[in-house]
């Protein structure tokens, strides 16, 4: 909110420079957004937190400065005599809903002359960001800016039946507000009406039907207290926020209502002439009793970690307008009406004490933490294990990305088909409207983004949450109405495997992806990895796989279907894997056990095999290992060939077998025996030794 320093000085006579003032205001909790000089005045733009509705005006800020600098607050009382018959003989006010309107006051001024405001007034309200309309409207705005109380002036002659009724709107009612817009009302909304129709939306905006215009001669000034919640709901429902509604939502000073009314009446009669009618209408519900809050010195110490003397506390509270009753080890703070909305309990009062005493006076201490048995290993949480995964992937050339949990529904559909995803009910962008049920769409978008910038060799990964709808039938407890969240790891790779100046360039393929998965399992110490073919629609035919550990499915991997890649204008093969990190990490072996290094020398034998293509390499490997009993210490595939040198329908595999025993040195004869058993078993499956050329 903008504050004029000249105006402020009318209420508190501070001598400090605006720069020093601004620092003091910041230390009181009013952030300064801007400070600029104009036309002999300094305008400070302050950030007012929602609890300080009382500070949305000059008077409120003046109160704070007066308290902080121990300067007197110059708030003059307005005395109005009025003339002629009492207002009660002309105007009737009926408050039908005291819940939504706890106080309604009004005064009348007749025979006034509408005209432009004098330039001093124009300058003031315009400096604070309010447009000048005419002397009467400007006067109500002036009082609002000065004292925080919103007011409204009606053209009295246009009010039907000489009666103001404060009631809820009828279901089909509507009103054209001062901005010329027709507003449909509901029975949740409070209106000011005459005997025939609504003439204002209470606390938000007046109606065009009773607007003060050049022709107006008699006005009724309204000053009231409306229920903050009702104002907020109406304002939000109508999408209409005004100076008045903003303040009514945040500031509820029931005592100020009448003071501001008199101040406005006085100002209007000064600016527009006319006659203030004797008497005032003041319909109200019994006022709330002043709130008294007990504050113990011990609690002050406990919360702030410092002692503040009783005298100091009394002084601070009195400066802030609180009443104080003093006892031996405590005191009672009597909350002034302008702080009812904000100061409700002992902690609130203690904050006031700390605030005025200065947060900088509170000492700094490092707490001595109690020993807690189950919280010893602060670094042992799943966060740090996940962190290992990230480190591992960055180490082998992957770049970490982070994407929003909200994704485009269309990209999801194009990748994974019609799948059940959670929708955002009020997206910002109609396209960006679902919670991701997979990290893949995000990574695809990242690939496209970088391809479009001519970066085509990419290895990306993301660790993040996905959101899965919970089946309708399972809605039994509160936690289950929430979607299921799973922490996933997704990897995407595409382009060249490596580029070397001495040749040797090749494109990434499925085995690069598989190698990364194997590496991850090893790095995370997950002993069992099985990759099973699975025809997933996302992947190119024959490349889709599901990843298992200990018979539990932990993820999927494969090559993105080329048709899908083409659809997204991705010009090259893309390899994708998505793993459920929580499941995966549950298989991680934390306790590593040492296995003795073999003491006896091993024997190496190489074999070259001709294998029918329909037999998978994995099956050959398993046959060898099974037949080799416990004697094969290591089995390494060193050659794979398919082509002219090999008979049609076959492939050549070359293995290096390392025979070793933990108990003794194997003799050549023993190895020969096992080795020939293996060859025999293989040949029974149509696998034979490759002849030497």
């Amino acid at each position: 909110m903008k504050i004029s320093c000249n105006w402020l000085r009318e209420f508190v006579d501070f001598k400090t420079s605006p720069e020093t003032l601004v620092e003091r205001l910041a230390s009181l909790g009013f952030g300064v957004e801007e400070l600029h000089s104009t036309d002999g005045d300094v305008i400070i733009e302050l950030e007012i937190t929602p609890n300080r509705g009382d500070c949305l005006c000059i008077l409120g800020i003046a109160r704070e400065i007066s308290a902080a600098l121990s300067l007197p607050l110059k708030d003059r009382k307005v005395e109005i005599k009025g003339s002629g018959d009492s207002i009660k003989n002309f105007a009737k006010v009926k408050v039908e809903d005291f819940k939504l309107c706890r106080r309604y006051t009004a005064r009348m001024i007749t025979e006034l002359k509408i005209g432009p405001s004098p330039s001093w007034l124009k300058k003031r309200i315009e400096a604070m960001g309010v447009r000048s309309v005419n002397n009467v409207v400007d006067a109500t705005n002036y009082v609002l800016l000065e004292r925080g109380q919103p007011l409204h002036a009606f053209d009295w002659r246009l009010i039907k039946g000489g009666t103001i009724i404060v009631r809820r709107a009828g279901k089909a009612e509507s009103i054209i507000t001062l901005d010329g817009v027709e507003r449909k009302l509901t029975d949740e909304m409070l209106v000011i009406a005459d005997t025939e129709r609504p003439i204002a939306i209470a606390g938000i905006m007046g109606g065009l039907n009773t607007e003060v215009t050049d022709k107006t001669t008699d006005v009724l000034i309204e000053s009231a207290y409306f229920d903050p919640v009702s104002i907020r709901r109406t304002s939000m429902a109508l999408g209409l926020e005004t100076l008045a509604s903003y303040r009514f939502q945040r500031n509820a000073d029931i005592e100020e209502v009448r003071v501001s009314l008199d101040r406005a009446a006085e100002l209007i009669s000064r600016l527009a002439g006319g006659r203030i009618i004797k008497g005032v209408i003041d319909e109200h519900f019994p006022f709330p009793r002043p709130k008294k809050i007990k504050v113990s010195l011990e609690r002050v110490y406990k919360l702030l970690g410092m002692k503040v003397s009783k005298e100091k506390i009394i002084n601070i509270l009195k400066n802030l307008g609180f009443g104080v009753n003093v006892y031996r080890a405590s005191l009672t703070a009597v909350v002034p009406s302008f702080r009812y909305a904000d100061v409700k309990n002992e902690e609130d009062v203690i904050e006031e004490i700390a605030r005025l005493n200065g947060y900088d006076k509170i000492p700094q201490r490092i707490p001595v933490l109690k020993f807690v048995h189950d919280k010893l290993s602060a670094r042992n949480s799943s966060y740090f294990i996940t962190r290992t995964v990230k480190e591992g992937l960055a180490d082998i050339g992957f770049n970490e990305v982070l994407n929003s949990g909200i994704i485009r529904g269309s990209i999801l559909k194009n990748l994974l088909g019609e799948i059940n995803a959670i929708k955002v009910s009020n997206p910002m962008d109609e396209e960006q409207n679902v919670l991701r049920p997979s990290l893949i769409p995000g990574l695809i978008q990242n690939l496209i983004f970088n391809f479009n910038r001519d970066i085509t060799d990419l290895k990306l990964f993301e660790v993040g949450r996905i959101f899965l709808p919970v089946e309708e039938g399972n809605l039994s407890s509160e936690s289950e109405i929430l979607p299921e969240e799973q922490i996933m790891l997704c990897m995407a790779m595409s382009g060249n495997a490596e580029q070397r100046w001495d040749g040797g360039t090749r494109m990434l393929d499925f085995y690069d992806l598989k190698g990364v998965i194997e590496y991850l399992f090893e790095r995370l110490r997950i002993p069992h990895l099985e990759i099973k073919p699975s025809p997933l629609s996302l992947f190119e035919k024959g490349t889709g796989t599901e990843i298992f550990s200990a018979d539990t499915k932990v993820g999927i991997a494969g090559e993105l279907k080329r048709g899908i890649a083409r659809f997204f204008k991705i010009p090259q093969d893309v390899y994708l894997a998505e793993l459920n990190l929580e499941k995966l990490l549950s298989f991680s072996v934390r306790e590593k056990k040492y296995r003795p290094i073999p003491r006896y020398p091993g024997v190496r034998r190489d074999i070259s095999l001709i294998v029918p293509v329909e037999i998978n390499e994995g099956d050959v490997r398993n046959l060898i290992l099974k037949e080799g009993g416990g004697f094969i210490e290591n089995l390494e595939l060193f050659d794979f060939y398919q082509g002219e040198q090999v008979p049609q329908g076959h492939k050549a595999l070359g293995y290096r077998l390392s025979y070793q025993s933990a108990e003794k040195t194997l003799t050549s004869a023993e190895v020969d025996k096992i080795h020939s058993c293996i060859i025999k078993t293989l040949s029974s499956r149509g696998i034979r030794l490759r002849e030497k050329e």
């Binding site: 937190t49 947060y359 000492p363 707490p367 050339g397 955002v424 949450r465 929430l482």
Partner: protein, 339 residues
């Protein structure tokens, strides 16, 4: 005559020693080898002279020649090793300026890197790291945090809703409630994670961003502890010379509340293009509101504590000199590779 041969041997010795010692390269050495040990070399010549001697003189001459031959042979070997070593040291013609066959390193996202720094400071102080959900209920995101429906404080939280009751958390503070519901004091935890706000994106706003929440609850925790822990944190993160400022602020779920700022290092608090008014707000914090304790059935008379929250991207922007928050979620490789 034996005497003549002896003289010849002496001459040969001194000549050979001189020649083998001064030879410059392997080629010259090879020439020397041929000169001495070749089929028509000096040794062959001198050996052939043995025949001209008396039979009684021959063994002695043979012995002397052989001794010399062995001596010179040894000299040759030594010289050869030395020259080979020298030629190897200078000789291989590698273009050492060609790029190495590098193992490519990838990169971690700047948010991850900043979280590493922040979390290591707090774990050193004994805080646990806890992760929590991103989709929350109204209750955890607002009500349990003393922010009822229709409170103007909700204006600061433009919220994405799934249903009337379910939403994307607008801050990491719901984790306070979830942790306190599950365990008893002492509580000391930090919790990083994504948050969402329905704000139009620009250089300083993104609908998705990361926060880090912290909570410390025990029987004797005061605002002085809050100041001590958070000052220490900021000085570890931004350097020992960091000036930390605590100003009053407002959050529904803390009382008293504070906004923690550090003095801008560019202008030393005078105000500049980076900071505006001389200070950079880093943290929101405060003493846990008694209503929050009541919501999790802690006795607010017995326990006190402080909570704090900070924007991770904002800290990353300050530390890495990044001027647009949207870069964090664009995932441009040219951005990511810089970290």
């Amino acid at each position: 005559m034996l005497e003549d041969i002896k003289e010849e041997i002496g001459k040969l010795r001194s000549e050979a020693q001189k020649e083998f010692e001064t030879v410059k390269n392997e080629k010259e050495l090879e020439a020397l080898r041929i000169k001495y040990f070749g089929r028509k070399g000096l040794f062959s010549q001198i050996i052939s002279k043995i025949e001209t001697l008396e039979a009684s003189e021959r063994p002695e001459a043979g012995f002397l020649i052989n001794t010399l031959k062995n001596e010179i042979m040894e000299l040759f070997q030594l010289r050869k090793e030395k020259l080979t070593a020298e030629s190897q040291a200078e000789g291989r013609s590698l273009d050492l300026t060609l790029p190495g066959r590098r193992r490519e390193y990838g990169s971690l996202h700047p948010v991850t890197l900043i979280l590493d720094q922040i979390l290591s400071i707090f774990t050193d102080l004994g805080f646990e790291v806890i992760e929590s959900r991103e989709v929350e209920t109204e209750y955890y995101n607002f009500e349990a945090l003393n922010t009822p429906k229709d409170h103007p404080a909700r204006d600061m939280h433009n919220t994405f809703y799934i249903t009337d009751e379910i939403l994307l958390r607008t801050h990491t503070s719901p984790v306070q409630i979830r942790v306190m519901e599950k365990s008893r004091p002492p509580i000391r935890m930090v919790s990083p994670g994504k948050c969402y706000r329905r704000d139009a994106s620009d250089a300083s706003h993104s609908p998705v961003f990361h926060q880090l929440e912290g909570l410390l609850v025990d029987e004797d925790i005061s605002f002085a502890d809050l100041k001590g822990v958070l000052s220490s944190f900021l000085m570890q993160l931004f350097g020992k010379d960091t000036v930390v400022r605590f100003n009053p602020s407002y959050f529904q779920f803390t009382e008293p509340s504070t906004e923690v700022a550090i003095q801008c290092k560019m202008c030393r608090g005078k105000g500049c293009r980076i900071c505006g008014n001389g200070y950079l707000e880093i943290l929101g914090a405060g003493m846990v509101h008694p209503e929050v304790f009541r919501a999790v059935k802690y006795d607010p008379k017995k326990y006190t504590g402080f909570a704090f929250g900070m924007g991770v991207e904002r800290i990353a922007m300050l530390k890495y000199n990044i001027d647009d928050i949207r870069l964090f979620f664009e995932n441009d490789i040219r951005f990511l590779r810089q970290f």
